[in-house]
């Protein structure tokens, strides 16, 4: 194994480990947070930390995995494409969902301290 392959393998495993940690944290947050808008934080961790990072890690790992032959570049390229799609699409999806949930009042905002957006709407600075 050449030195650059060794470095790629180590980085890949580190990224996959970070991903595993983020999955556990996001799963706990998903189950213990009180309402929908707080759970959006956990969803961010799950999408970016738990999925984007390990996909990149797997691509790097595949690049250094020489038993696969030339097809490993296909794997790495597909992984990078999937990661880029996820990086762009996951936050946008969460944003659309949060906006729709807020304005349709489908989600209950139960332990509520302050709702700045509602005040702004009442003042007329923001509209839907």
């Amino acid at each position: 194994m050449s030195p650059i392959d060794f470095v790629l393998t180590v980085i890949g495993y580190i990224l996959i480990g970070i991903g595993a940690f983020c999955q556990i944290v996001a799963g706990m947050g998903m189950n213990r947070f009180p309402n929908f808008f707080v759970r959006l934080h956990a969803a961010t961790i799950a999408a970016i930390g738990g999925s984007f990072v390990p996909i990149i890690g797997c691509s790097l790992l595949a690049l250094s995995f020489e038993e696969l032959g030339d097809v490993r570049f296909f794997l790495a390229g597909g992984g990078f494409v999937a990661a880029v799609f996820l990086l762009i699409l996951a936050p946008v999806g969460s944003h659309l969902l949060a906006k729709a949930a807020y304005f349709s009042k489908a989600a209950v905002l139960q332990p509520k301290v302050v709702d700045a957006l509602e005040e702004d709407i009442r003042k007329g600075e923001v509209h839907e």
Binding site: F74, V81, I88, L89, V92, L96, K99
Partner: protein
């Protein structure tokens, strides 16, 4: 360590199957219809993982768009246009118990028969051997002798088009009939003519910007899935349903008036007809060449056979194209994208316009 390495896929398989059972149960007993649709989407996601672990990527590529994407999308639209809750008052307990008992008995018998068809003993786990037909397909899918080979490294697509072409042809006909039926149900209904206004219509500006960035990338991925159908997992239908997501994103995130700038229903029907003609051409091109040159040839023939020496080239300039498979994949891609474009355009017509037409018809 090595045993654990072999065990992990089977562990994931069984956990996935159990989780899908729970979501199926909740989907059936749920009264809120939109939640039932979402639970069935969870079940579909898990089935996709099962298909993936059973090593059939072609099915995953066609199953995810169909069952996670298109079917829930259309059911969500249907629920939004009709009733939100299911009325379950008045189902008598005895009826449902009798039916449940009958269903359980039937399923146990059929499951036992399936098991018997699988192996004579009770060993459900598959053996190391597969049936002779499958071994023959695997051996001849890409072979030095073109007389017995489909010349495609992808044996599933080779079977779908080359060995079982007539079947695929009638599958396309069923899809065609379904879309014609939907068009017939929605006759005289047109998209209202309105101007698209950037601020007043559609969803937020973040969604619009992301869609503008992503649509070309999605199209590139879809075209690559379709055109590499004879080399990698995928094919015409898989690429087509992947590209259909762009149509639905344009309609849902911008609006149907924005999408109507690019294609109207009639344009979509025309492009779909072109795709279907391409499929017919892929089926008969060898026959046409045979007529023109006065040699013997067959319908659905791809590579030369012993008594019919005509065949399309399986490579051009060192690139494998597998004869008519490339034509078939391209035409199927076009036909499928435009079919789903028609469906989404029909579903996005406002309900008031539809009701006007229907009231006119009924009276």
């Amino acid at each position: 360590m090595s045993e654990l390495y072999e065990l992990i896929p089977y562990l994931v398989l069984s956990i996935t199957a159990l989780a899908s059972t729970i979501s199926v149960y909740l989907a059936i007993i749920e009264k809120d219809l939109i939640k039932a649709v979402l639970y069935s989407a969870i079940q579909s996601t898990f089935y996709a993982l099962i298909f993936y672990l059973l090593m059939v990527p072609d099915i995953v590529l066609v199953y995810i768009p169909v069952s996670v994407g298109l079917l829930p999308a259309i059911l969500i639209i249907a629920v939004k246009k009709t009733e939100k809750y299911e009325d379950v008052t008045g189902i008598s307990k005895t009826t449902s118990t009798i039916i449940l008992t009958l269903v359980v008995i039937f399923t146990l018998i059929s499951g036992y028969l399936l098991l018997l068809s699988h192996a004579i003993t009770f060993a459900i786990f598959p053996s190391t051997d597969i049936r002779t037909l499958a071994r023959w397909f695997l051996n001849t899918t890409l072979w030095w002798n073109r007389m017995f080979s489909a010349m495609s490294p992808e044996s599933v697509t080779a079977i779908v088009w080359d060995y079982r072409g007539l079947d695929t042809y009638f599958e396309t006909s069923v899809m065609y009939l379904a879309i014609i039926g939907a068009l017939a149900l929605a006759r005289y209904i047109e998209i209202p003519k309105k101007m698209f206004k950037e601020e007043a219509m559609g969803m937020s500006i973040i969604g619009k910007m992301a869609t503008r960035i992503m649509v070309p990338m999605i199209l590139i991925v879809a075209v690559s899935i379709a055109l590499h159908g004879h080399l990698t997992p995928g094919g015409g239908f898989q690429g087509g349903v992947t590209a259909a997501v762009t149509v639905s994103l344009l309609i849902f995130i911008f609006s149907v008036y924005f999408a109507a700038r690019f294609f109207k229903i009639n344009t979509a029907i025309l492009l779909r007809i072109i795709g279907l003609i391409g499929i017919i051409l892929a089926a008969t091109i060898t026959l046409i060449i045979g007529f023109l040159t006065g040699q013997q040839a067959y319908i659905f023939q791809n590579q030369p056979k012993v008594i019919a020496q005509i065949g399309l080239p399986y490579e051009i300039g060192g690139n494998l194209i597998s004869g008519t498979l490339l034509i078939f994949n391209t035409s199927e891609f076009l036909a499928v994208v435009m079919g789903f474009a028609i469906l989404f355009l029909l579903l996005s017509i406002p309900e008031e316009n539809v009701m006007e037409v229907i009231r006119g018809e009924v009276e």
